[in-house]
Symmetry: D2
Subunit: 163 residues, 4 copies
């Protein structure tokens, strides 16, 4: 089963971003892919909720051993005890990554994804690192992995990059 990783802000974020994340989660499920994420709140929770409403499968890689930290839409909770180092697995495991908003943790995941040669789709109009990263000029070997898409096209774009 192919997997798409969704990365982005934990915690309180505005409704527009949550709506986008939920719609992307639903798109992932409708396309028959599993959604993998860091398992927590904010963008991760909204995306998982969208995937579950659309009948999909969700996987959450938690920083701690405490399963109760997972949002309630995660089917397969993977508690790790690795702290932020779990970010490495959040992007090594999926076939492609979609970034929505996000802060320093999301930036570490985008950069790690490039190390792992995973395609990354930055979702336009969501702010945070999904937009800030556009300003960075990467070396040729990484530049080809960084893509942009409107919210409604993000999953389609990610799937094209996988296949």
């Amino acid at each position: 089963m192919k997997k798409i990783g969704v990365i982005g802000s934990d915690g309180l974020i505005d409704d527009k971003i949550l709506y986008i994340a939920e719609a992307i989660g639903a798109d992932i499920a409708r396309r028959g892919m599993a959604l993998l994420c860091g398992g927590r709140g904010g963008v991760m929770e909204a995306a998982c909720r969208g995937a579950k409403k659309a009948g999909g499968l969700t996987v959450g890689i938690l920083p701690s051993l405490d399963k109760s930290q997972a949002n309630k839409y995660v089917d397969i909770i993977i508690p790790t005890s690795l702290g932020y180092a779990r970010n490495s697995i959040v992007v090594s495991a999926p076939d492609a990554i979609i970034a929505i908003c996000g802060s320093a943790g999301t930036l570490s995941e985008i950069a790690m994804a490039l190390n792992y040669k995973k395609p990354v789709v930055l979702v336009d109009g969501t702010g945070g690192m999904a937009e800030e990263v556009s300003k960075i000029r990467f070396d040729a070997e990484y530049a080809g992995l960084v893509h942009h898409a409107k919210p409604s096209d993000a999953v389609e774009k990610a799937i094209k990059l996988i296949l």
Copy 2:
């Protein structure tokens, strides 16, 4: 969704052990639990095959980034790049662990599971670490986590320890 981890020998092992592992994988699926393992061959592959034949869900945490290392019965492949350090996640993620045969890698997983306060069921008659570990006297805080069961009772035992 509750998860049971199956740990044990990779590589060539005898048919009796593979038969036991497959039956245990099937029991896990029939009880409505996900099977989580290291994703590779031997005991892991046999258990995943059993789970899939019984309609279950399987998760494999791989040591490398190479998805092709997973056996073909793994639904959710989690490539990690962590090498043997991925053993830590193989036992931090499930709710209980079943050990079948196994060598040094399996021993590291049993010991790590105890660190994480996870119950471990050693399957009688499968040799390797699943039997050797019985010789060890653990401190009281860990001794209560180590259990034994016949192959046909292993999943039932693990489930009782979770619930």
Copy 3:
């Protein structure tokens, strides 16, 4: 013993950058601090060489188990088998980080350092991520951790941030 982490490009880089890295390594040693890095070539090797010429102590956290991957100026080689996930330790271990040039790996380290609330000094004029990251607007909780310095002031700046 306080430690300063030096992060930046592996592999072939131009002499000007190597000269800067070597001088920074020497400054770290002269200030009585240990130099910690990813243990490999390029900026890491030049910085370690500078530190050793100045009588310092160097630590290298390697991605693999193969000690021969370390540059010859590393005193304490820490082979890990964690692949790129070792980047997390390269920045969790030091008290402050100095970034010289660098590509996606360096970006992941800068972002991880911010997650760990470690101050990061980006060295002006060295190109790569040490300059590109300046374009990113971070949230307030991280923005205060990102600093800039001329090559000759980088270690002084890092030390002020530690003390």
Copy 4:
């Protein structure tokens, strides 16, 4: 610089064990090797104290980001945020391992050391896993890595296994 890893019980242990650990730490330093350990109390602290009294260098790989968890005899503190998964690095980094007493954490380190093909010296008369592991029959590929020694011979034995 060659490194010997010392593993064993954290927390309260009896004076005889602490005396042995301190003497072994001192022997490591006198032989010109660095001592690497998990950085915490008990056997680790006693061994580091011995190494420092004898003028040696000590490295501690901590489970958390909190440097204050290190015992006061650690020169190079490596905070990791990896929790028990840091045990993997405690044994991947040294050239040989000496086990003194110890519980489940020590057992995970002994087993991981064998995965990494590192020689392990179990110190006679110290109880805990350093003795319990003797009961286990390992496969041929690992059995040759497991050694026994009196406290006064442990470092000499480890050094012979490295060279």
